[in-house]
């Protein structure tokens, strides 16, 4: 697992939990992760443009799909929205062994890892704050690469 991905696992999980707390119950983790990505679409498009956001998300999806068969059923539309008709029927099919990452947080973690790689932690946190203005990310501790 790459170091950037490892360092954002906790944050990805936090975003998934945040989404679970605000959205009606019954959604799978993958559906929640699509919702997280949809929320990030606004600040990320504002920051990098629609093409910038789509290209980043498509890369995150491709990387995450290697470890998750379920994510292979998801497509990125030209409008930058992730869709899958099979989402509601998806059963967990995680291939990798890391218990800290479920399929939902896997996609988010890959997206965050890309952000961290390109623009760094601080700007990533700023963009997350734009998406969740009522949540404080200042005290979020990312696992540093040294720790890993």
């Amino acid at each position: 697992m790459n170091l950037a991905l490892h360092s954002v696992q906790g944050l990805a999980h936090k975003l998934l939990l945040l989404e679970r707390s605000t959205i009606a119950s019954g959604l799978t983790d993958i559906q929640l992760s699509l919702s997280v990505c949809a929320k990030l679409q606004i600040p990320l498009t504002r920051f990098a443009g629609p093409v910038g956001f789509s290209s980043l998300l498509s890369r995150a999806l491709a990387s995450a799909s290697v470890d998750s068969q379920s994510l292979q059923n998801i497509d990125l539309g030209p409008d930058g929205v992730l869709r899958s008709s099979e989402v509601s029927n998806i059963m967990p099919t995680l291939n990798h062994a890391d218990p800290n990452l479920n399929e939902g947080s896997l996609l988010i973690a890959h997206l965050l890892a890309l952000l961290k790689t390109f623009i760094g932690e601080q700007l990533m946190i700023t963009l997350l704050s734009d998406a969740w203005p009522n949540v404080s990310f200042d005290k979020v501790e990312l696992d540093t690469e040294e720790k890993s």
Partner: protein, 503 residues
Amino acid sequence: MSKPNKVTIRKLLTGVPGLDEVFGGGLPEYSFNIIGGTPGCGKTTLAHQIMFANATPERPAIYFTVLGEPAFKMLRYQQQYEFFDQEKLKSTIRFINLSKFALEGDLNSVLDEIIKEVGSFSPGIVVVDSFRTMKWSTQSGDTTGELQAFVQKLALYLTSWQATTFLIGEYSDKEIQNHPIFTVADGLFWLYQKAEGNSIVRKMQVMKLRGQASIPGIHTVRITDSGMQIFPRTFGLINQHKPNPAPKRISIGVPSLDALMGGGIHEGNSVLVSGPSGAGKSILGVHFIAKGLQVGEPGVIAIFEETPGTYLRHASQIGLDLSTHKKAGKLEIIYLRPLDLSVDETLHDIAEAVARTGAKRIVLDSLAGFEMALAPGFRTDFRESLYRMISALTKLGVTVLSTIETQDKFDSFGLSNYNISFLSDSIIRLRYVSIRGRLRKLLAIVKMRGSAHSNDMYEYRITETGIKIEKPFNNYRGLTSGIPAPWDNSEESDADDQENESE
């Protein structure tokens, strides 16, 4: 009737070393500026550096990216610079992408979006990067007039909202002449980059700046991990003046040579020591610096050929201890050997060393080595650059001794290969003369501005205590050719020779 108070234009400090001086004290607040130049010349870096220096929580900054470098990539690189303050990303600096609107070629939508963001964020600094791409978008629809109207509205709006604005664009020199958007701009700043041999030379020019006197001409630019730095043509010495209009005489460090020069050289003058390899030019420089240190005048030596260690060793070999003064901070030795320097950068280093040490004496050893250290493009105007440099140094009130190697020809008495004698208040010429099958050393004071000096040509020797002036070669003619012959009373010449040889 009293004159009404004029509007005060506050000047923003740019955070780019040297640039405020070029601008004439800083950048006018609320000005509408264009940063232009070819790809890779540092436009984005310059804008970022100014933005990070000026963005505050009270007056934040917005950086609009259009169709140029993608934001992800741009920031990946920009945050490598030391000026990139991560803390300011929390709430002080915003990056907003306008590509969606620009791709549609709808300038009104772009303007509306900028107005919306500016209205909600109230920034003190606004950057639109790359502005040129918007022009391409509109040109496809033949909307040149629309572009001009857009720029005018943008300038009016952003100025009214008290924002200092930078539009970044890639333009050719030809477009600068008559492009309508340039008439709207208060400031036009051009960056250049050119590969010359194995060197990259960067330069910048203020082509227009309303409301204040900027320094004309082209200034050297260097980009390092710290960001961009400008080396003004005025070397940071624009307000410096020679402190002593009636300079005193100072010793060059060889008393018998002082005597030939009417009691020493004038303080604050420029002295050129010209001669062939091995003639003792550097040793004379060591004498000059050591004498200064002895009487409490700190010094700076800029060397381009020898290493500092070698230089100090040579000094100690003639009994002059420079190391102690160096350790005490009274002497700095600047060793410059890179092959892409400009005169401006070199002088910047020297001027800083002068400020640190309080130097009163400087040795440049040698000008030929200095020329070699310059990027090829800067060698073409070496004379002009030297003139600016030496003038600037003597403006500081320091006395400059430069050495220059000449190739001795045995049919003439050239002073240097650069035709730069006009730069010097005094010229000391060293050369070899061939007498009776031996190379002997000759010293002549060729020029001393504002002072009487000896017109004789003296023999000198380099001894274990340095330079020692002997008797003049009075009994020879044709000394300047290097192959003198005795005057008619040859017996006297022979006697004189034998006396000198026996010493």
